[in-house]
């Protein structure tokens, strides 16, 4: 691991640790309103000031980071599992199934990602509890984000299908799910890992986009999307630079993921 990747790893770990310790670092919580101090500038009591309804911005950033960093990998896990199932199986079975899976992934990939997300999210109820909105948002990301990974996995599994060791395993009498689970799937691990890591930053950005457009996590629960939505009321950067902190944190975390990713992609 080179120095830059080590640094990126440390940054992600520090951010994760801080968000995990949100209860101790910001005991006031993300929803408590300090009604005597709405839109307050940074102070000793409120490190990043308060939002327009008087909630501590530092607390909201910590809790929002926790939600985004916890659920984006969960969504990535769902999408990678779906991709392994659809792409891996289609590649392993080949022929008609491979063509069918590729046609289906083509259909998914022919629509712009954000267009697909917004359309499907809007079809589901919008007036739901904050916790349900979190689950809906990240479940949609997981359930819709499998197509690109499935395409990569189907190609890898297709290549494996005709490899010598699979042919030998077949000749030895190993068939069906057992052959897939014992020999094909373990050999797809590097691709699966890479697709999992690639999906995390994509889902973090997607949640942020949905949140800004009002289709993400519902208030009062914070997420990077809802925190960035505050930029809508920003008049100038010079007057209230502290409002850019969630954006800067997102850029730092995303950059760290990118630096961590490069090696995973190469390995795949």
């Amino acid at each position: 691991m080179n120095q830059v990747r080590k640094l990126a790893c440390v940054v992600v770990l520090v951010v994760c640790a801080m968000s995990a310790a949100a209860n101790w670092l910001a005991p006031a919580g993300y929803a408590k309103q300090f009604r005597e101090a709405p839109d307050a500038p940074p102070s000793r009591q409120h490190l990043l000031g308060t939002d327009e309804v008087g909630r501590d911005r530092f607390a909201r950033v910590l809790y929002g980071t926790r939600i985004s960093l916890l659920l984006a990998p969960a969504a990535a896990l769902v999408s990678t599992a779906l991709a392994a199932l659809v792409g891996g199986l289609a590649g392993y079975l080949g022929g008609f199934w491979l063509r069918l899976a590729r046609g289906f992934t083509d259909l998914f990939l022919s629509l712009p990602w954000l267009f697909l997300l917004i359309t499907v999210r809007a079809l589901l109820p919008l007036n739901v509890s904050p916790l349900t909105s979190v689950l809906i948002t990240f479940l949609i990301l997981g359930l819709l984000g499998w197509a690109a990974s499935a395409r990569v996995l189907s190609t890898s599994a297709d290549a494996l299908r005709n490899s010598d060791f699979i042919l030998q395993a077949r000749a030895s009498g190993l068939h069906g799910p057992r052959l897939f689970l014992i020999h094909v799937l373990p050999n797809l691990k590097p691709v699966l890992y890479a697709q999992f890591w690639i999906s995390i930053p994509v889902f973090i950005l997607s949640e942020a986009n949905l949140g800004i457009l009002g289709l993400g996590v519902a208030e009062p629960l914070p997420s990077w999307g809802s925190l960035l939505r505050e930029l809508e009321g920003l008049i100038s950067f010079r007057e209230e630079p502290w409002r850019l902190v969630p954006l800067l944190l997102l850029i730092v975390v995303m950059t760290s993921f990118q630096l961590l990713l490069s090696n995973e992609e190469v390995t795949a």
Binding site: L111, P112, F115, V120, L123, A208, I212, L213, L228, L250
Partner: protein
Amino acid sequence: MPQQTMLPSKLQLWKIAKRVAQKLAAIAALVLLGGLLSATLVRMAPGFDADERQLDPGLNEESQRALRQSRAGEHNILSFYASYLRGAVHGDLGTSHALGQPVQSLLRERWPVTLRVAGIGLLLAWILASMLAITACLWRLPAFEIFGTTISGAFLCIPAAVLALLSVVLNAPGYLAIALIVFPKVYRYSRNLFAKAYAMPHITAARARGLSETRILARHVLPVAGPQMIALAGITVSIALGAAIPVEALCGLPGIGQLTWQAALSRDLPLLVNLTVMVTLVTLLANSGADVMVYMLARGES
């Protein structure tokens, strides 16, 4: 002799026509399937049957019945889709429930805005990314490399909606936000392509023989990187269309992106199905057009 020279070109033309026909058939199938999928999803969505106007106490029983009847045809998804396709063949794309206007006129009003914003954005992104990528490969200065990678990396890390918001705060035009969303993807890919092309042995030989950099670029690098750049151009159309949604919604630009946003929020079935079909059609046409161009280039070379 003349017959012998004519024969391959006719054969080539036939092969290209066959490929175009295959692509068009695939596009038609995917578009129809996309529309059906979209219509099915909307039909299955919770609260599909609810219409705000049914809560209006000012409407009498007859009006309520008329309202229910107007949406009755949408209950069976297959019959809805079949009647939609019949209408589409005759140029009738239905009426938007939320906006109360014919979908056809809405699309006619909105497409030029999106085409202009996304088109200028794409053009800017491609000019900026190609210039940066070529300069980085030509000069091979570490500082320039770091600059390009940092700038593109930073824009890759910013959500499209944030760039749209920042363009509102900074009073920048919407197409600039689209350009900045597309730019990093084009830069990173084209930078790698050019770097690979410049590293080829015949480029080193051309340099050793004293060929000018412009000539090397035009005659030896672009033909190698060109096909993949064309394929990338097809993909960036889809990226720009996706970026148009937050940019138009947040910058108040009355284009297809904003219309999609409004249709999604109001669960406007006819509009959503039409938009899905249109967007699928445009992205597939762009990708297939790029594919056919790459195929033609490859045939021309062989």
